[in-house]
Symmetry: C2
Subunit: 173 residues, 2 copies
């Protein structure tokens, strides 16, 4: 079981976008360069974050991405959901229905007990991810920063943030 590398890249990108000022955007190219990752791979995930309503986009060659939601609204679960999709990690194939001597249909009205317990555990994972908001992460990073990390981000933003008065487009959810 493995989460896509897009989860890590998305959280870091959102954390960076949280520092933008109003009307500013960052391009996928700039975010990919800062994080030293493939632009095409990151772009796929930025588009997923946009479709899920976490990011907004300004189209065109001078456009880019910005946060559509506040950092204290966006949870780690929101990011995982946007990147990984809604399917659970445990996907019951109902193999109890298989084989040469399956039980009668009446037993399959209730979900398999195995599936029920696997999914209950998964919900507690999601609940923990929901508790952590991007704003919490940023506060912890800032608490441990002597100014160096902030200066690094500021230098990047000074060089790459684009001011756009264009109407920001929110993707249909």
């Amino acid at each position: 079981m493995k989460l896509s590398d897009g989860v890590e890249q998305s959280i870091h990108s959102i954390a960076m976008l949280a520092s933008l000022e109003e009307h500013q955007v960052l391009s996928a190219a700039a975010l990919a360069e800062f994080h030293g990752v493939s632009q095409s791979y990151l772009l796929k995930h930025l588009q997923a974050l946009s479709r899920s309503g976490i990011l907004g986009t300004v189209p065109g060659p001078k456009g880019g991405y910005h946060l559509e939601q506040s950092p204290d609204e966006i949870s780690l679960f929101d990011v995982v959901l946007a990147v990984e999709g809604p399917e659970p990690a445990f996907r019951c194939k109902e193999i109890r229905r298989n084989g040469p001597n399956p039980a009668s249909e009446s037993y399959f009205i209730a979900p398999c007990q195995i599936s029920a317990d696997m999914l209950r555990a998964e919900r507690s994972y999601h609940d923990e991810l929901r508790k952590v908001k991007i704003a919490h992460l940023l506060a912890k990073v800032q608490r441990d920063d002597d100014g160096t990390l902030a200066a690094r981000s500021c230098a990047f933003l000074d060089a790459n943030a684009r001011t756009s008065r264009q109407t920001r487009i929110q993707q249909p959810r």
Copy 2:
């Protein structure tokens, strides 16, 4: 993020093996037929369960698998760990070290806050999986059974359980 189908197949197989009497084993072929799944795929996972100490094996053409641990010791987490391996779902690539202007090494002594929070949530998932033992699952299934499911399992075991006085071999962990 997806758990291998081997998790579902392994849990069902362990539940069936829990009904064996002393000195009985079931072959991978019989377990695969009962569950209507690929024998070679199931075999791979039975071997992993054996390596992890959950199953024991009796070698040879009349051999097979049996539980090496008690159903009230084997948790859903044990099965997931055996099938999926010990790597976490979130695998931090430390992308904060990347890019044209990485922060100084002193910042990378502590784990990335993102990784720390992702892994903390994952631990709560594992903790929930640890709470559910195979014995709990079996008790719930038996509670809802009017005898039909038990009869189905008994018919299968009567036809397929092999009695073996051979020394059972526990795989090295």
